[in-house]
Amino acid sequence: MLSSIKARQIRIAYLFLLPAIIVFTLGLIVPLANTFELSFNRLSMGSRWEDRDYVGADNYARMVDDAHVLSSVGVTLRFAAVVLAAELVIGMGLALLLEKPIKGAAIFRTIFILPLMVSPVAVGLIWRYLLDGRIGLVNHYLGLLGIPAQTWLGDPNLAFFSIVITDIWQWTPFIFIILLAGLQALPSEVLEASRIDGANWFQMTFLIKVPMLRSILLVTILMRLIDVFRALEVIFIMTFGGPGRSTQVLSLHIYKTAFTSQTLGYASTIAVVLMFLMLVLSLGLLLFSNPLKERADF
């Protein structure tokens, strides 16, 4: 009797899971499998799926020698490293500053998370105009300080710097808000005990709070890492990868290969490599410290 009830419950559980499984399969597994298959084929835009030509590992062989792919992997890794480091430091700093119930904290918190609510296309446009060499406000104010006008988006180094600043402006609030929630959820007993033991601010922050936030930090880094690798819209609008290849991240290169060069097969090959790269980085991070495993150990 009991087992039949249990079997029924399991059946119902599967029934409830079914919509999610269908959506997951149609929305993720099938496109992924198609991308993987397409990476071994040649197919141009405008041709039908049935007209694809199987080319074996040609696309992969081509990619190994493709200077554009290598340079865009380099740009992506550099971009990811710089923005993640900066966003973590600034986000953590802001969270520590605003965790205490100081006067006006709610206003500051709201202001800080505003950039997160702006759509990436709007962010790209806003910063593009702010940094415009001719009419940009940034150059205008720098001019008031006697600093000569810079071609922010026209110089390879400054353009990279500009997309880094834009990403930091938009995404630091994300890290800030998660870390703030994490800090406020820390068990007060531990903090009180450390205070009674005479820990100073530095010790409390770096020896108690940060280690206790490790799981949250790791998940945040992982989410941002995936985001950074997907970053497309803002760079698309601000520089479209230029000047030269200085801001051509891998996702933008894939976009151009698919929709400008119209070579869907080769674009899929690079997309598969991007996926692989993200998988390796994510697994590496999880191996280093797996928040899910730690939770299971409790």
């Binding site: 405008g46 030269g244 400008t260 119209q262």
Partner: protein, 455 residues
Amino acid sequence: MRKRILAVALALSLLASLSASVMAQDAFDPYAPYRGDTIVVSWPSLYHFQQAATLIPQFEEETGINVEVDFLQYQAMKPAQEVELQKPRTGEYDVVAWVVFTKSEYVINGYLEPLANFFVDPALADPSYMPEDLVPAWVETGGVVGGTNAYLPGPTQALYGLPFGAETSILVYRADIFEEHDLAVPTTYDEMLSTAAYITENVDGVYGMTSRGAAGHQIVHGWLLHLSPYGGTIFDSSWEPVVTSPEAIASLHALKTIMDNSPPGVETYGFGDQANAFLQGDSAMYVDSHKVAAMTRDPNQSLVDGKVGYALHPKVGDAECGLSETGGFAMGIPSNSANQEAAFLFMQWMTSPRIDRELALIGGDPARISTLNDPEMQAMFPEYAVVVEQLECANPNWRPLIPEWGALNAPILGVYVSEFATGAMSAEEAMAQAAEEIRAEMDRAGYYGWSSMGM
């Protein structure tokens, strides 16, 4: 008696209606079979097309054919069209406009109907249409496919589109600055480049020139404008890339000098930004599409109305004239349109001598020599006289309009021209690398298959 009167009245009215219908048959109306039909037109939301759309009610009234226009931002238009054009059965669009470099791609994918199918039909083709009056360079660039090199006119050509919103390049300059500083209007590149440097140095707050400079399609367009008058091309006659030729390298250096004498940030300029630099009075010279002329007269976007002069695209050395670009848009009929005849009638009406002139009067771009040559129009639009003269020297081969152009343009040339322009590579180095990648792309596309047979 009453009955008889009624019978006579009935007979008379029958006779009247019968004769009316016979008379109607006698008065030929090409639009009658399509009256009440609705055609859907895919146009870019650009000024010329928006002005053309204001004439649609007139078309509807004259013909009884209804027209719906699907306006899309011009870069978003092609993906939307592709969705419809790929449909194996009837697609949504009956008329599509395309940027000229899309024509071969659309034809090779079987998207477009040859216009000969309609021009041979006496019920459709208007004898007063005067196709020879359409600017030949624009017909060739926007509508001809399958001739020499697949995209130029030649014995094997076919016509798929009519020019609509087409353009060529001319020199537009600030007449007031030239007069004030006693400068001669440049006729050669050397003169233009030295005048640009002079203005940048000596005219306060004004740069000598403006240019497209953003990595990708924009900077390639900017460069090709100069490659053509310098006598360079992308390919030789056997599809070998010749972007390392002395002409190509010289034209790259010309581009660099132009960019060095343009407002700061030119490395990010697209067409709109470069035009704005001129319209806002920051640049004294502009060499690109003649469409900027109409923009200079628009008080909403221009501070230079009345201060502008027009001249021919400068030439290089002893050349007869500067080989200008031929670009812009053309329109044609999708193969999967269900209303092809009505669509043809619409295109024919829109590009007819009468409407071409009407459209020009409200700010559209004329496609006919008669409109451009009309003294009344030339008095109103001073650039027309220059455009007509320039079109004699327009070069439909200034850019290879092959289906693979998309893969060569922004992804390869767009990167290396930008690498050179921003100082990351030398011209020779950048073009050698570009040539290698272009050749690989052309090889993959099968351009060297026949020649490799050695027959």
